[in-house]
Symmetry: D2
Subunit: 319 residues, 4 copies
Amino acid sequence: MPRARDLGVTIGRFAPGPLNAITDVPGVRIGHVTLIEGDRTRTGATAILPHGGNLFRDRVSAGFAVLNGFGKFAGSTQVQELGELETPVLLTNTLAVGRAMEALVAHVLALPGNETVTSINAVVGETNDSGLNDIRAARPTVAEMRQALEAASSGPVEEGAVGAGTGCIAFGLKGGIGTASRRVDGYMLGVLVQANYGGTLRLDGRAAPETSEADTDGSIVIVMATDAPLCPRNLTRLATRSFAGLARTGSALSNGSGDYALAFATTRGQMPNEMMSPLFEAAIETTEEAILNALLMAGDMRGWDAATRQPRQVRGLRL
Amino acid sequence: MPRARDLGVTIGRFAPGPLNAITDVPGVRIGHVTLIEGDRTRTGATAILPHGGNLFRDRVSAGFAVLNGFGKFAGSTQVQELGELETPVLLTNTLAVGRAMEALVAHVLALPGNETVTSINAVVGETNDSGLNDIRAARPTVAEMRQALEAASSGPVEEGAVGAGTGCIAFGLKGGIGTASRRVDGYMLGVLVQANYGGTLRLDGRAAPETSEADTDGSIVIVMATDAPLCPRNLTRLATRSFAGLARTGSALSNGSGDYALAFATTRGQMPNEMMSPLFEAAIETTEEAILNALLMAGDMRGWDAATRQPRQVRGLRL
Amino acid sequence: MPRARDLGVTIGRFAPGPLNAITDVPGVRIGHVTLIEGDRTRTGATAILPHGGNLFRDRVSAGFAVLNGFGKFAGSTQVQELGELETPVLLTNTLAVGRAMEALVAHVLALPGNETVTSINAVVGETNDSGLNDIRAARPTVAEMRQALEAASSGPVEEGAVGAGTGCIAFGLKGGIGTASRRVDGYMLGVLVQANYGGTLRLDGRAAPETSEADTDGSIVIVMATDAPLCPRNLTRLATRSFAGLARTGSALSNGSGDYALAFATTRGQMPNEMMSPLFEAAIETTEEAILNALLMAGDMRGWDAATRQPRQVRGLRL
Amino acid sequence: MPRARDLGVTIGRFAPGPLNAITDVPGVRIGHVTLIEGDRTRTGATAILPHGGNLFRDRVSAGFAVLNGFGKFAGSTQVQELGELETPVLLTNTLAVGRAMEALVAHVLALPGNETVTSINAVVGETNDSGLNDIRAARPTVAEMRQALEAASSGPVEEGAVGAGTGCIAFGLKGGIGTASRRVDGYMLGVLVQANYGGTLRLDGRAAPETSEADTDGSIVIVMATDAPLCPRNLTRLATRSFAGLARTGSALSNGSGDYALAFATTRGQMPNEMMSPLFEAAIETTEEAILNALLMAGDMRGWDAATRQPRQVRGLRL
């Protein structure tokens, strides 16, 4: 399946990095565990690692923003208070956040050098895949969550119906994981999204007629990485801009939406406020493109709707 | 000059009210004072009154949201704490907020029944009109601010280069005051904007080629009124949605932007969360259309740039 | 062991309820699971249920406040967005939050009437009991967490080294669970705390000389219940006041502190702002007394320090 | 009149600076204008200057916190967004905030080097002196506000019924301006308060029997300065701690209270989170002592109550 840019859909004015992926930010690693089993299991987890070292000992600055907080994002208050990330980020489904926290705690406790660690702020995002997945069945397990952490690698990022995006639905179409990146003033900015929300889809500003207006519910988690030396305050401001990219895709921002953005910087420092505007613009367009990639790379899927207790077929977006 | 809808630009899926203006919300009154004098004065003030009575005695529920807080919005902490509006809202220029507060205080002190009032939370929004106006010259005066309050009336709302929009620039074009409204589930939702920001203009999703990418700075104040019985928490959530309408017009959300939204309800009550989604969608599209109206109704203007100390000509948007 | 009031320490000016406990608020139930095993296990969980019915179907209004966010409180963003609680609250240790979420999810999924529920916002608070407990050993288990939920009952509340307070240390002394209540204008206000923080202890304003100034780290979770008909905004304001009670006990509010307050109302409604002041004052003094009860009811304890990997003895406060 | 420390009331464990005043922080300047005229005018303004240079060109990092937002604090959103102060801070009465903003704008526009400045974020705090002052009479004027700015100097700070504290009432006693300072780890921390609130006064933890429990309303503005190199996030955290000092004096934190804290650092830098705890403790005790100094230095005053329209006599605290 082609990505947005392969189809001639070019969002914004900045150039992407070589992979057009969050892994264009040096050091960033992504890992998926994808669970497609029988008629009912369509779920998974996606791990985002800011670098390959012991993150608990070598933390990165981070910021966090909420547009609509109908969601179960874990670890937000400590990120906001201390402005740093001390564990990888795990994305998964709505009812699996506790297990993802367990996996992150076990992961950190087990790292060499952490033998006396007694406090760990696990950061977990989620969207609800119950439209295609038997979400009540307690998958991924804690062990499966750890597989996503262990699978993390740099290089190209698998998109669409993988990892935490396996059972996602967006705009009544198959959603999932998407990514994109931008070069800005010598820095790299990368975004990864878990797209599972609704509204009236716009592709680079134009209405996409095959989507259903009636399907407006759902959520998105947006993770942003950069090697620009940003303080937590400016990372929070950067995270906020991703919601404008979300808005440009036609999101309905409904009551039941859980819209969260987390941004981290792999370089320490304090870029001045006056230099932020290009990064802010890039955050908008990178998010918009990452979402389109999530949709375009997802394909069709047959699964099980846990609310209606019926099988359900969801089509992938085709241009 | 035609408004967006007269030109066939129809934003969103809800129908507008009879005036397609914030004054479609029963009771809401708008007043402008427009100051165009000599070569250098291009400024003014716009008053928004939730109703025609003594607002200090008969308050309305209100919510407030900030996207980027580079601005001088007055009265925000008390609106957030108490969830209510006790004065009209005045919009004006960046260096005139103190005088607008003075005018609101004097207005409230002078109302019959307020003889022993000793605390008044004046609510004032602003954008920077120094691109066309000698903003350092201390206009509007306190007396001119009061003229805007006294001029307030229901009925059609003058748009474009009037009131607090007189000297506005948006997307490198002439900006100003715009308004729109929507009917939603038997309720009315109205928006009035003071549009003075930048980015890459999109008209109903399509790029508008005549704007300059280089002009990305500036601010917007968005005021939203409804007769739906919303509590302050849901008014705050409603206000937040207006930023999605802003994003859809192509805002760059730059470092220097002051993006504020205030929402008030003319009816007391507590509509449940579950009924909010249609209002949220309408808030997005009403804001987008109000902004387009501001641009389309503005026309050309010649004024004085207070930063470069030179005359400046700004064109209005033509479709 | 006597409670504060039994010792003549009378905090504030309002009268307590019959039990001087959070369970004086009609319907509120508390359950503990206490794990004291061998030399190293000193931990547990405490469940707070706003009422005995299906809380997911019959929700209560709630507010949330953070003083210092170095903590892992789960469920906060949805409580803030929607203003309601849809699961019981579990308190436990820092590394057990994921397991507590799992227990709450399983609890809600299993309730009759919840067969098609696919989204659950588990609310969990924690403090770090690693000074007396082998926190890395993954206790309480998910099953043990559910025992706390199942044990919940109205009536007197066990205090001190029980439930989530089993391994707590406060002011270098043994901390734990404490509770208190107040009657205010015909309503009942109750507080339950998990006290595990430091500073220089003050008993009703007077220094308590036996505490160590050097022990200033740690956290507190404060849960407040009332049958006054408060909206989420005023519940948030009420929650904020509890930090003044915390301050009056001599808290150092150190960098490593996780200070969280959650307030819920068992009655729906919108008490006006103007009636809040007595409840605000009562929130301060009830919190102060609940903390003193936690300390006074705790007794001595011998356990295991997970950071130093040594046995440790902590004395209880004696007046 | 003696200050707290002269009376043997020693708050906390850190040593004060040489003046035990906010001006112990190098560069900080304080200026008062005090208006006591006839029977009815008991008001004024107090200016806080972080340094003697052009602050608009040479800004200082700043943070801001609200405990209860029933107040008219101006400039807060920009301080929060950008983390910096670009004008001096003015404190005055509730209905004079607009005039204080006018004075700050005029002050900044007039400074050499600011000839093309077109945007100024005036920062103004207030409390309500209408219990002793004819607050409706529009004093201080803009010109009087500027006198406070021009009077600013380093050295000892006049306390009590001066400047913005002229008409203050606290705990039913005469309130006003107070200050204190602490040395912490080689840095200086200074606090200045405008104390005008109520509750049940505690002096170093002990009840002060002469105050009236019935007088619980009112507000406080707390300004904190340090030469420790703190980022805006940690300045915000520092500002938050001042509310614990407020709580320890017995504040009732009533509905009508406007409790605001602003903290700024005269040195740029990013002290790590792990070094903050001593500064946090010092912020608590410095605020508590500054409040006691405000009360002790205030003396008796006769004035005019603008709400009852009657003369009123208020006693000063005597130990």
